[in-house]
């Protein structure tokens, strides 16, 4: 697929509400190809990368992401991820990825108990991933969050493994890039805002890069995430 347009697949669950934003960014801002993947479908339509968008899939019933995980399309997404396919889960998409077991840990209720909707600063902890390769090392991104359950938690052993393997990709930080308690909007363990799996092909993040990609909205830092994915997919030689 070298050099050609990358095809993004945006999964649509009942209650997804950032699906069109993600689709728009892929297609109109980045000039790539994109398709919606309805949750009842079982065909990923030969996409190069899958986006699980933000929203409130199935009304957040039971637990955020708990029901979406059982959608027919998710079986295919899991299979795609197991083969090394590129998958990004944003906000509710991150919650679905942890419920599906593609990423470790869980997203608890924000410690403030409030829905927090504002720009946050994110320290890019590693550029050695297919989601951050277009970022400058140590970059601080301005990207908005909008969630009530974004408080990342996991057991100490898993945290050690995440840190040791460089799987923590984004951390909430202050203007100097320091992950302070004040810059942590939801109580996340170690200020974690985004992680990848061990293999590095599945990323989950609570902030919304698709809401900070179109220049008309004022911030374009989110583009870096999608741009990295485009560059990675374009570098892959067809099988």
């Amino acid at each position: 697929m070298s050099g050609e347009r990358v095809k993004f697949g945006v999964v649509v669950f009942p209650g997804s509400n950032c699906d069109h934003d993600a689709y728009y960014v892929c297609k109109k801002v980045l000039g790539q190809d994109a398709a919606f993947l309805w949750h009842k479908e079982t065909d990923l339509q030969n996409v190069d990368a899958v986006i699980l968008p933000g929203g409130f899939s199935y009304g957040d019933y039971l637990r955020c992401g708990a029901i979406a995980r059982f959608s027919p399309i998710m079986k295919e997404v899991v299979r795609f991820a197991e083969k090394g396919g590129t998958v990004i889960g944003i906000c509710n998409g991150f919650q679905i990825l942890v419920e599906a077991g593609l990423l470790p840990g869980v997203l608890l209720r924000n410690t403030s108990l409030r829905f927090v909707c504002r720009y946050v600063r994110l320290k890019v902890e590693t550029t050695a991933t297919r989601f951050t390769s277009a970022c400058a090392p140590g970059a601080i991104l301005s990207i908005p969050i909008a969630h009530g359950d974004g408080n990342y938690f996991t057991d100490p052993e898993t945290l050690r493994r995440l840190e040791g393997n460089g799987q923590v990709v984004f951390r909430y930080c202050d203007a100097q890039g320091v992950p302070t308690p004040e810059s942590n909007p939801n109580g996340s363990l170690a200020n974690i805002a985004g992680i990848v799996n061990e293999r590095g092909n599945v990323l989950g993040m609570m902030p919304h890069p698709e809401r900070a990609s179109d220049p008309v909205l004022g911030y374009t830092d989110g583009q870096r995430v999608f741009q990295s994915m485009v560059e990675y997919c374009q570098s892959q030689v067809p099988a």
């Binding site: 059982f70 419920e99 869980v106």
Partner: protein, 82 residues
């Protein structure tokens, strides 16, 4: 046929800000003798099965795979014949 009465609670190691907020509200009521408020979920369902052991196995399975997330929650249940 059996009824399963399931309670899903946050594990003791998990902070429960909702429980804390309710605890504060109880204090605001003027009741000072209440502490350790923890919130959870109660789920009731009917389970078909020839024996209680069978119904128990199904309930256990559903709890493990869906109703509780073992990373943050524990569950207990009672099975009653109906």
């Amino acid at each position: 046929m059996y009824t399963a009465k399931i309670r899903v609670t946050l594990r003791p190691s998990i902070l429960d800000p909702q429980g804390k907020a309710v605890e504060h509200a109880i204090g605001a009521l003027g009741v000072g003798s209440v502490q350790g408020v923890r919130m959870g979920k109660y789920i009731e369902m009917r389970v078909e099965g020839a024996t209680e052991a069978e119904a128990r196995k199904v309930t256990e399975d559903v709890c493990r795979k869906l109703l509780a997330n073992p990373v943050m929650e524990d569950f207990v249940y009672d099975i009653e014949k109906i």
